[in-house]
Amino acid sequence: MSAAITAAVAAHRARERRRLAMLAATAAVLAVSLVLDLATGPALLPLREVVLALSGQPGADETVSVILWSLRLPMALMALVVGVALGVSGATMQTLLDNPLASPYTLGLAAAAGFGASLAIQYGGWGLPPVLAVPGAAFLATCLACAVILGVGRLRGMAANTVVLAGIALLFLFHALQSLMQFRASPEVGQQIVFWLLGSLAKADWHNLAITAAVTAIALPLLMRHCWALTTLRLGEARARALGVPVAALRLGAVALISLMTATAIAFVGTIGFVGLVAPHLARLCIGEDQRFLLPLSGLMGALMLSSASVLSKVIIPGALVPVGVVTAVIGVPFFLWLILARRLPG
């Protein structure tokens, strides 16, 4: 075996190590963001107290413990879980549909959730309490949208363009239906709908956190099983087929999985835009197309975006909680424009 081959293999291993280091570094920044998220709020808690209360050591301030464990921790962790779900979903969608603009938001899934939620807010929850009815309706509407997208897609052999166009058509449809609901609602109900649509982590508690985390934890390994097939898809559909990747079946299975993950996340926190679109691009710039690393980094980047947006949402206007969906969009839009101008978008 020649020395040149050994050198090329070593260079590849070094690249893999750099990517792992990038993952570790992002996780570390994320941990810092999590602690900051826990410390900020109406009462600014000293970092030392936060760490002390989290570690459960004796001597921690009881008030701090209560604020942390029953209020801030579920919200902060929800930001991470939803961020991971949206980041990974966006990355997978962009790859599957060969479209840099694909994300749960642009394909109408979030709009469908918004419509479902406004329906439940407006007309009540068929006997269920709103705390169950609203996320339940959002979830069902998202699944319905996904079923329509996949149904239309299947008629055309899951061609990427058909799936994207079906998604965009649904985006407009559900936006229109959402507007109709708002138009017909009384001012109070209308405000509730608007608040839901803006997306907020304040709805998080331990129960819905557990559900979202469980769904994400089940879906992620199932997606990661396809990491080599997804990487191959980056070379174009024709070549992926040539290399034996069952493209249509992969699209069908993975889009269903992503929709389930997104539907659960969005149902509990409302529509949060741009994380699913921008986090994967950021990850791609840092780490390349090897999906073994790209999917985890997209998840971490999504979590980092949402977690830092959560911190900002509490400090931008002192004493007020700006909906986190607004913050992600306000940060996301200029960043996205910069990405476009820098011509770094693939495709």
């Binding site: 090329a8 260079a11 590849h12 990487t231 980056r234």
Partner: protein, 253 residues
């Protein structure tokens, strides 16, 4: 032996090939030539198990191609389509590795990496191993995709215009490698070529396709006849004989 029997292929309702029967032996290169739209690419895609058969049958060593055998079938084939798109963020070495995407574990085995690097070395591309695929020229990329095909350790090679973007030297490099590998590994090689002289020089047999039917299949000297080529291409053609005994085709313009 790879067989296609009484094959009828349709594309969007249009008949692409009708009643096509061909056999491709082991250890030989069969070149498919013919004008644009003759159905060459569709035939390759059918042989790969991607294009549905309207009628007829395809078999490899007695095993028929059908939906239940398709996965196993495709694992035995190295198919190089014309598409040469590349995504930024993949290195040349990674692209070659993806030839084996179906069998790779989450953690890459050392042997797979070494094998991919060895293929690059064979084509003089090892210097580019760490380069981003998008920074390569079209020709270099085509060589990388050829290496990717071989990384699959195929029994059958189906190459769709593999030299279309290559300069003169790299055309010879690729075709010579194909010649050598076909003989050494007893591959069934099927190559779609537009360059008739390249086909004459390297192929054992040439199949001339026009309007979806096979006009002739035989050794270059037999298949490349001036009257046939003139008729199917619609230009005057002269066939000369090179010093090495291979026919040379010249268009009369």
């Amino acid at each position: 032996m790879l067989y296609a029997e009484a094959l009828t292929l349709r594309q969007g309702g249009r008949m692409v090939s009708r009643d096509l029967s061909l056999a491709f032996p082991r250890g030989a290169i069969t070149a498919l030539v013919g004008p644009n739209g003759a159905g060459k690419t569709t035939l390759l895609r059918a042989l790969h198990g991607e294009h549905p058969l309207a009628a007829g049958r395809i078999a490899l060593d007695g095993e028929a191609l059908n939906p239940t055998t398709r996965r196993r079938w495709q694992a035995r084939i190295g198919y190089m389509p014309q598409e040469s798109r590349a995504a930024a963020g993949l290195t040349v070495l990674e692209a070659v590795l993806l030839g084996r995407a179906g069998t790779l574990a989450f953690r890459l085995p050392e042997a797979a990496l070494r094998e991919a690097a060895a293929l690059l070395e064979e084509f003089g591309l090892l210097d580019l191993a760490g380069r981003d695929l998008t920074t390569l020229s079209g020709g270099q990329r085509q060589m990388v995709f050829f290496a990717q095909c071989l990384a699959r350790r195929p029994e059958v090679l189906l190459l769709d215009e593999p030299v279309s973007a290559l300069d003169l030297r790299h055309q010879q490099t690729l075709m010579r490698a194909l010649r050598r590998l076909t003989e050494a590994r007893r591959l069934i090689s099927v190559v779609v070529l537009h360059d008739l002289n390249l086909a004459a020089r390297y192929a054992d047999r040439i199949g001339v396709l026009a309007e979806g039917s096979l006009r002739v299949l035989g050794p270059p000297a037999e298949a490349l006849s001036a009257p046939l080529l003139s008729a199917i291409y619609g230009v005057g053609v002269r066939v000369l004989w090179g010093e090495d005994g291979h026919p040379m085709v010249q268009a009369l313009v």
